[in-house]
Symmetry: C2
Subunit: 150 residues, 2 copies
């Protein structure tokens, strides 16, 4: 079995499998990649204004308006007026619609089982990694964003 213990290969497979599943589940949930991307931005940030969303997606403000329209129509977000600046539109996530839950249910179940198979100490290591890796990804993304703007 598994003669393949090269760490970089293991890691690449893991990444690819994750990416594939992400996009496949997005599609299963009826989301196009842009909308899925935006939803992840919102999930991470909590909420964003229309303009911030435009900046981070790289879309024009016009295209972003339509993006928000689609997400709102699909029940993923809602528009909230900023009380402090009434020109602004704050985009807030709402609870994920059923069809999204269904699309990711299988992965959630299986991953839960995998993680549940580790002892307390190992789980602590994993979650420490998740936390640090998230930061690493965010910094890397910001770097790409800065390059795009330059």
């Amino acid at each position: 079995m598994s003669t393949d213990v090269d760490p970089s290969v293991v890691f690449r497979r893991y990444l690819s499998a994750m990416v594939i599943h992400s996009l496949a589940s997005a599609e299963a949930a009826g989301l196009n990649p842009t909308d899925y991307f935006a939803l992840n931005l919102l999930d991470l940030a909590g909420s964003l204004t229309s303009g911030e969303l435009a900046r981070r997606t790289g879309l024009t403000t016009g295209a972003t308006t339509r993006l928000i329209d689609r997400l709102e129509k699909g029940g993923h977000v809602r528009r909230v007026l900023d009380p402090a600046d009434r020109r602004k539109v704050i985009v807030e996530m709402v609870a994920a619609p059923d069809h999204v839950d269904r699309a990711v249910a299988g992965a959630r179940r299986r991953l839960g089982a995998v993680i549940g198979g580790y002892d307390r100490e190992e789980q602590a290591t994993l979650f420490d990694y998740f936390t640090k890796a998230a930061v690493a990804y965010q910094e890397s993304t910001d770097e790409l964003l800065a390059q795009r703007e330059a």
Copy 2:
């Protein structure tokens, strides 16, 4: 600081950050999401026939031909004739073009630093997780695929 130790929140953030970075780096590398998705399928499988690629992406064979055209033109894959069945076209990945490397360089560096910060035993735990999680994602993806076909 971090009053937030809820594991599911940590994990969601990690996932979102990863997804965002994936899509952002794909875009930085000049890849549309579909092409990026296909490239990940190929990375995971090693190589696929045109038909298999069509099935897994959910595209028609016609659209898949154009997809392969784009990937070939971008220097990401090459077409190889199957010696056993000359109707078939095997799509093989070639070394990633420079612009892709550049797009993911920041993340690779940062993640390398994160992983390098763990001791040998912790790293073993992480890689064990990567291996098992990859399987979990693949199974979940196959499940979604089966549902789509049903």
